[in-house]
């Protein structure tokens, strides 16, 4: 009796995720470029708004999340590149990997990219834009990042698949992605501003964080309901 051992979905997920991450660690293309882009975006904001000598502390949270959402567009656009560049796109789509696992691995990859950027971006925003110390608030800011990243990653992995075969991929993805992302920007920026923007309003922070959680849940449901239809049959 030959029983074909099929790897459990958890192991498949880990394998796919590690493949993407290992590829990234070896070349470091995407992460480095994303970090550079984030810093440049911050400079743009500074030069666009800060050259009157104003104190941008109340806007630090906004600048952080404006930067992160634009950087996220890059990261999401890159999430299928490993398969595309190596010409294995058709192969992996016909492989006996459950599509849910495939989607989840992309979500995980985007999440990891965002974390990598945030590790650099958050301290930079604190240094560049916040007068006064944020050391005490870093934990809360980190929590906001963790929550918001979830919604962004779920949204991004779904829309990345929709843009996968499009001709003007680099244009289509931001146009699809950003309008749906706006609530995250509002809530995440609001949450960070609530703790680091001069005042320290925990009830406001909690309100925004709850919203971010609801956002992730709702889009998680949407992605779960539609993921199978995203792929050609």
């Amino acid at each position: 009796m030959i029983a074909a051992a099929r790897p459990a979905w958890g192991r498949q997920l880990r394998a796919l995720l590690l493949k993407d991450l290992r590829l990234e660690l070896r070349t470091r293309d995407t992460a480095v470029a994303m970090v550079l882009f984030a810093v440049l975006a911050m400079l743009i904001f500074q030069f666009a708004f800060g050259n009157r000598g104003d104190d941008l502390t109340p806007y630090a949270g906004g600048i952080l999340w404006a930067t992160l959402s634009l950087t996220a567009v890059l990261g999401v656009g890159r999430s299928w590149v490993p398969e595309r560049e190596q010409g294995v796109l058709d192969g992996i789509l016909s492989a006996p990997v459950p599509r849910l696992v495939l989607m989840a691995s992309k979500t995980g990859a985007i999440y990891a990219y965002l974390l990598a950027v945030e590790i650099v971006a958050v301290p930079l925003v604190a240094i560049f834009f916040v007068r006064g110390s944020v050391a005490g608030d870093l934990g809360l800011i980190a929590l906001t990042c963790l929550l918001a990243n979830l919604g962004i990653a779920i949204l991004g992995s779904l829309y990345a698949c929709l843009a996968l075969f499009a001709r003007a991929r680099e244009l289509l993805l931001p146009v699809l992605f950003l309008p749906s992302l706006l609530p995250v920007v509002i809530a995440a920026a609001g949450a960070v501003n609530a703790v680091a923007g001069g005042t320290n309003d925990l009830s406001e922070y909690r309100g925004y964080s709850l919203f971010l959680a609801v956002y992730a849940v709702i889009f998680g449901l949407v992605a779960y309901a539609t993921y199978d239809h995203v792929f050609d049959d």
Partner: protein
Amino acid sequence: MTEARPGRRLAVTGAATAALTALAVYGVFFVAPEDADQGIIQKIFYFHVAIAVGSLLAFAVACIYGIRYLRSRDERHDEVSSTAVGIGVGFAVLVVITGSIWAKASWGTWWVWTDPRLVTFLVVLLLYAAYFVLRSSAEGERRMRYSAIYSIAAFASVPLSFYSVRVARSFVHPVVFTSSGANMPNTMLIWFAVSQLAVIGAFLTIMQVELLQRRADKALRRVKLRLETSS
């Protein structure tokens, strides 16, 4: 959809809509009392709100037919879904324009970022403009499938957008506000209802007209194909 007399159904819907619209306009301007706070400007709301609700209704129909398409892969469901999005966008444009006029009338500026409904409909316009960009980026079966998926995701974004703006605003202005008054006297409420019915009727009428046009277009195409291949 009954094949038999779509024309008859359209005529009935259209006539009912016309009658309701006339009734609404009469009621809004000659019967409904003037608002105590905002004066005559408040009358903009009767159709502004009705069209806003109509737009959301259109997007809900699009979402439902998107789901139905994914289940059945029937091209007609995609037709209804995309037509509904088109009407929804048209209505949303009207909402933003009338809302801007109301803002100018109330606050002296053509735009305010503090009204959740106005901001939400701007976001809605962007969301569903992307629907058409997505649609034109794919062809055939993929176009219909992707449109259906996006019609669902975009519809989920609408309440999220509305509430994110509302939540953000509630921290600045803790009082619960509705720009048209929470407790409306029945004399006003009834004309809101009539306006709403008129707009819903307009939606149904335009839907039928659009779908009929598409049917005619398709039929002509079939004839053309047949004639070209036989000659």
